[in-house]
């Protein structure tokens, strides 16, 4: 598969079909047995995670992974350092951080320890951390798990905004059909470690094979 710069793509597929594994491969958490991964034309196969991250790939984990002992603000400051540990300044209170806090609706809780946030708030914080990192490609693994419909919609809007105004390429894994619909983007269907189908939401939703495998026949497509 390949992604165009500035695109927004979603991946769906049954549990355990290898979606998270795909992310692990791209970000260097796992090394592939075969095949290559190119990023902006450069072979990044087998590079360690921090090198890949420095090249401009950011990632949100399926289970939210924030730094519980740090405050929300510090959590945002950290990715902004982009892996350099030489700077002595401790700058957590700048305009950019404030803007991101606003964007992910955590301004009120900027000085909370991240471990005190709820599940959904952590998901948002993690998206915020990706923004702070300012990568060119963002990989999101189930960003709305545990969110209500409205929150999900807000998240979808946020992601589209990131993609459109920020010009960042985004790849999303999600099970929530509404969310995927709201993303209004091309879809890849994965099964047993391979791309089964691709297309827009409607065409995939209607696809017999995908319905059987994933969505389930019995459920009427909602309006």
């Amino acid at each position: 598969m390949s992604l165009d710069a500035g695109s927004l793509t979603a991946i769906v597929g049954p549990n355990g079909c290898g979606k998270s594994t795909l992310f692990n491969l791209i970000t260097g958490a796992l090394t592939p047995d075969r095949g290559t991964i190119l990023f902006k034309g450069r072979d990044i196969t087998g590079l360690p995670p921090h090198k890949i991250a420095r090249l401009g790939i950011g990632r949100k984990f399926q289970v939210p992974a924030v730094f519980g002992e740090l405050s929300v603000r510090e959590n945002l400051a950290l990715p902004a350092m982009k892996g350099r540990i030489t700077s002595i300044r401790n700058d957590t209170n700048n305009a950019r951080t404030t803007a991101i806090l606003d964007q992910v609706l955590l301004t009120d809780k900027a000085d909370w320890k991240a471990e005190h946030l709820s599940h959904g708030e952590k998901q948002w914080l993690e998206i915020g951390m990706l923004l702070a990192q300012a990568p060119e490609l963002i990989l999101l693994d189930e960003p709305t798990a545990g969110m209500t419909a409205a929150e999900t919609a807000a998240t979808a809007a946020l992601i589209r905004q990131i993609n459109q105004t920020g010009g960042i390429t985004v790849l999303v894994i999600e099970h929530d059909i509404r969310f995927i619909e709201q993303l209004e983007c091309p879809l890849l269907v994965m099964a047993k470690g391979q791309i089964l189908k691709s297309g827009n939401f409607q065409s995939i939703r209607q696809d017999e094979q995908v319905q059987e495998l994933y969505f389930g026949r019995t459920e009427a497509p909602h309006a």
């Binding site: 549990n15 355990g16 599940h119 998901q123 929150e151």
Partner: protein, 233 residues
């Protein structure tokens, strides 16, 4: 059946639940909805005694259960399916189920055929390690495991999170069937409005650690504004 009054609970200095009160009626499926971080999981955990209750009471069939140890609460008749499933990955399906009987009472092993009947996959794969199950299958196992303890009331925390749509649907149908057949009382935390519509008799809305509103399934169906009020931003 389950009566919670003026409950205050939280983590360390943080109070999440503030004077939360509600009643769960016998034989009903009650859904608890609310935005992220409103304290739904916290409520479940305080019912189970996993986090300490600061003040207020929880009664099960008229008997106070708050302040008891978790295992006693479980034995008093509450089954719990935690958020994130938490099956024992190293154990086989059979061991996972046996464990639940060991914890409650060995006679609960008699429930095994019934459970296999509801969830045939658990019979087919009873010697497979739970860790090798897919997310949806693990969810099924977690539910079966909780049922194995022979609960009077079952608490489910977001059973559909991260599960592919067709399995979500299957699970909700199966739960509805079990509730119908056995009269099991169910309290389910759920964000998936479709699922709530399929299953629930009664809906509670939670906001800022308090019970904000409640309604019946019919009211929910007829009145979209409730959903917007409590579940939007």
């Amino acid at each position: 059946m389950l009566e919670i009054s003026n409950l205050n609970a939280g983590y360390g200095e943080v109070t999440v639940l503030r004077n939360f009160s509600c009643r769960i009626e016998t034989g009903q499926v009650t859904a608890l909805m609310g935005r992220n971080g409103m304290g739904k999981t916290t409520l479940m955990k305080s019912i189970m005694g996993l986090i300490p209750v600061k003040s207020g009471t929880i009664h099960l069939n008229g008997i106070q259960i708050n302040g008891k140890e978790t295992y006693k609460i479980s034995r008093a008749g509450i089954g719990y399916v935690p958020q994130g499933r938490e099956v024992f990955e190293q154990f086989t399906v059979a061991e996972n189920l046996r464990l639940a009987a060991l914890g409650s009472s060995l006679s609960n092993l008699d429930r095994l055929p019934q459970i296999h009947d509801w969830f045939p996959i658990l019979k087919e794969r009873h010697d497979q390690k739970a860790g090798t199950f897919s997310g949806g299958q693990q969810q099924v196992l977690a539910i079966a495991r909780a049922l194995m303890t022979g609960p009077e009331i079952l608490l489910l925390d977001e059973p559909t999170e991260g599960i592919q749509p067709n399995i979500v649907h299957e699970i909700s149908l199966q739960l509805a069937r079990i509730a119908r057949e056995t009269g099991l009382t169910i309290l389910v935390v759920e964000q998936n409005v479709d699922m709530v519509r399929t299953m629930a008799d009664h809906i509670l809305f939670m906001e800022n650690g308090q019970l904000a509103d409640q309604c019946s399934a019919e009211e929910l169906r007829s009145d979209e504004t409730l959903i917007h009020r409590y579940l939007s931003i």
